[in-house]
Amino acid sequence: MRPLDESETTAVFGKLFKFVGNNLKNIVENPSHEGPDSNPGRYCFRLQKNKVYYVSEALVKRATNIARPNLVSLGTCIGKLTHGGSFHLTVQSLNLLASNAKHKVWLKPTSEMSFLYGNHVLKGALGRITENIAPGDGVVVFSMSDVPLGFGIAAKSTQDCRKLDPNGIVVLHQADIGGYLRMEDDL
């Protein structure tokens, strides 16, 4: 386990910024109630076996006892770093993203399952969409009951979505909670 270095940090924050925008400040400075101390500590990012973890400092301190080959996971895993140095977010970061998301999309109940199988979001599935989405922005997908289902990249802006035919793709799928069943071993 080690802290992220410069290039890794930029990659991670860059990706996060796509989804949460200025709320990134919240993420980094969130007071954490984990750990046995009563004073809330801070969160930090750590790297272990090419996975980036978002952990509170109290946990990090105590995890230093555990040897590197034996440490498997700490706090929340938010994504993986590839060999080339780029960063991909995984579905386990969904809770973190959903609470701080800038761009959101709500799906109709009939089309939830389609997204959970890994398909892209079509125009006909949209229930609601936030304003001012630009193409290439990170979008978090919710169900109508405000349960986060996954996230993806916006293919069209909000204005363009209105003009789209019902089978046009609005959000490109990146990760969804169905992944816990489909790809448990790859997480």
Partner: protein, 636 residues
């Protein structure tokens, strides 16, 4: 009774007499002669009336019949009564086909005779049918006998005849419940039990060891209930994730999707039991969003017993697939810190996936052997430990049928040995002085005493801990004694759960509180419990002292180690009953050494060293015997 009396009278008249009625016939024949005399003495009219009344009584109600028999007893009142009733009954007598014709006695007599014959025939058939039934019942109930050797051989050649085996099982159970009265002559109780074991093993598919173990633990009727309960699956349960939702809301959503469910029981506020479901319950969007976890009801129990508080430091030593760990996190509301450890790397994936899915953020997952955890995390460093020990799984036969045939005595003892080591490691990690705890919860999904009560008893002897109530009052208390073993009396605070009593998997939960951080050195002068152990003890003492004196560079701590080794040996002799003690000896040596942070020599080295010492001693003895003349001081 009156009817039979009447029929018996008729029997004598028509001279058909079944053997058992002979004595009664004699009696009634005297009566009959009395009535005959009466009729002789009286008028023909009277006789007619008598006969009328006879036939009338037979066809009509029993009232007139009883009157008739009472009349038969008192001949002199007969006339009077018959005279008074003559008017009433003549009219009704005209109904009866027989005896209404007052013209000729002989005609009447014939027809009456025929009717009486028919009636008597009918009555006799009834009687015989009754008797036969009685005889049959008697035969079945008294005549169960154990199959002889020839019958058993014959049976083993044929393919197993399941219905007859089942019948035999039921018969043996019935006999055993009322042994004195129903047993076969010369057959001891043991024979019945042996036959029952064989039949149960072949009918339900168990191996001999497991059936033997179950027969030892339960009375026969309860054993049958238990085995039947193992054949059926327990209902599927799920646990609401209180970090994300509430039970009521989740129940509403699931019911809308078409799941038929109910709250689990009054002892759980987060459990739901699923009866059936139109959608796959493990693949709903709510499951994927982490609103609930599929768990068996028995898995709730150890975490409820542990009762972790907020901001505690908790260790879960065998955490995969993570049902209990996520429950602990939910109870702690994601505060404090949880160390979730799992030894097998293949199970780590599901553990981390479940933790992330349920939104648990305060957990560190590690991949260690549980016995090494105290070294990694430090001694006396955490508040609570949950040890859901790896076990033989004899309580979850309804989930995994292979346990019926795959477990043997050796397996149980290996499991027990591992569990003893793990529980000591668990106790060593807990800080006795912690403000909010100092608790260890030990649980297994097995019903064997060797893996449950024996392990707790071992922990009580080895460390300064005591048993406290688990808070699960609806379970059965654990055994204080079992066959020849006697456990500490506080073991009745542990809890056992059975499928046939609680409708859960077989489970065992015990909660220990660590009183102090000291590790007590067991007093070596304790008198051993039997002479066998006494001689072994003496031998080990000698060896121990030899080890201490003659190995190069050994200090006082090693002597203590060897004492501990010896006492551990005695304790293990008391607990386990086969040759695994040899292994246990050396392994306990190595664990003892870890606490002293010494590198102890390996098994082969130790035995080699001992051999050398023995030879050296023999050589010295030989020398001594030569030098005795010079009064060389005794070396031992």
């Amino acid at each position: 009774m009156a009817a039979t009396a009447l029929s018996k009278k008729k029997t004598t008249k028509s001279q058909k007499a079944p053997p058992k009625k002979k004595q009664k016939n004699e009696f009634f024949s005297t009566k009959h002669t009395a009535t005959k005399e009466l009729s002789d003495h009286s008028d023909t009219e009277d006789e007619e009336i008598v006969q009328n009344e006879d036939s009338e009584g037979d066809i009509g109600g029993s009232d007139s019949v009883s009157e008739l028999s009472s009349d038969g007893d008192k001949p002199f009142t007969d006339d009077f009564l018959q005279g008074s009733e003559e008017d009433e009954e003549k009219g009704s007598g005209s109904k009866s086909g027989s005896g209404s014709d007052s013209d000729s006695d002989s005609d009447e007599y014939d027809i009456e005779k025929k009717s009486r014959a028919i009636d008597e025939e009918r009555a006799r058939e009834e009687q015989e049918a009754d008797e036969e039934m009685q005889l049959n019942i008697k035969e079945e109930s008294d005549e169960f006998r154990l199959p002889t050797k020839e019958e058993l051989e014959e049976e083993s050649e044929r393919p197993p005849d399941l219905p007859s085996i089942q019948r035999r099982i039921k018969e043996i159970v019935r006999v055993l419940t009322n042994f004195k009265n129903l047993k076969q002559e010369g057959a001891p109780r043991k024979d019945y039990i042996e036959q029952l074991k064989k039949d149960l093993a072949s009918y339900y598919g168990y191996n001999d060891f497991l059936i033997g173990a179950l027969v030892e633990m339960f009375p026969v009727v309860e054993l049958m209930e238990l085995i039947e309960a193992f054949e059926k699956p327990r209902p599927m349960c799920l646990r609401t994730n209180t970090l994300k939702t509430r039970r009521r809301d989740l129940a509403d959503v699931l019911i809308n999707r078409g799941v038929n469910l109910d709250p689990l029981s009054k002892w759980s506020k987060v459990g739901l039991v699923v009866y059936d479901s139109q959608v796959p319950i493990g693949a709903t969007p709510e499951y994927m969003a982490g609103f609930y976890m599929l768990q068996s009801a028995s898995s709730f129990l150890p975490v409820m017993a542990l009762a972790p508080q907020e901001k505690d430091r908790v260790v879960d030593m065998a955490a995969a697939p993570g049902g209990k760990t996520t429950y602990i996190a939910a109870l702690m509301k994601n505060s404090g810190i949880i160390f979730a450890n799992e030894m097998k790397p293949q199970r780590l994936n599901s553990l981390t996936a479940n933790l992330h899915r349920m939104g648990v953020t305060n957990t560190i997952v590690s991949n260690y052997d549980g016995k090494q955890l105290p070294k990694v995390l430090g001694l006396n460093s955490v508040d609570r430990v949950l040890l859901d020990a790896p076990c033989s799984g004899t309580g979850v036969i309804s989930k995994d049928e292979s346990v019926k045939t795959s477990k043997s005595l050796e397996d149980i003892q290996n499991c027990a040995h591992l569990q003893k080591q793990l529980i000591l490691a668990a106790i060593d990690m807990v800080d006795a002085n912690s403000k909010s705890g100092g608790y260890i919860v030990y649980s297994t999904c097995s019903m064997m005493v060797a893996e449950n009560e024996a392990v707790i008893d071992y922990a009580l002897k080895k460390r300064d801990v005591k048993l406290v109530p688990c808070g699960l009052d609806f379970g059965c208390p654990g055994f204080i004694r079992f066959r020849e073993q006697r456990f500490h009396p506080s073991l009745e605070k542990t809890r056992r759960f059975y499928p046939h009593v609680h409708n859960m998997d077989g489970f065992f939960v015990a909660k220990l509180k660590k009183m102090s951080n000291k590790k007590p050195n067991v007093d070596p002068s304790d008198p051993p419990e039997n002479t066998e152990e006494g001689t072994r003890l003496a031998e080990n003492e000698e060896e121990g002292t030899r080890l201490a004196k003659e190995e190069v560079g050994l200090s006082q701590s090693v002597k203590e180690n060897s004492k501990r080794e010896r006492t551990k040996l005695t304790k293990e002799k008391q607990d386990s009953s086969d040759g695994a003690t040899g292994n246990g000896n050396v392994e306990s040596l190595s664990t003892a050494s870890k606490w002293k942070k010494r590198k102890f020599p390996s098994k082969e080295d130790v035995s080699k060293a001992r051999e050398e010492k023995r030879q050296a001693l023999r050589a010295e003895k030989r020398k001594k015997s030569i030098w005795r003349k010079d009064e060389w001081p005794c070396l031992s």
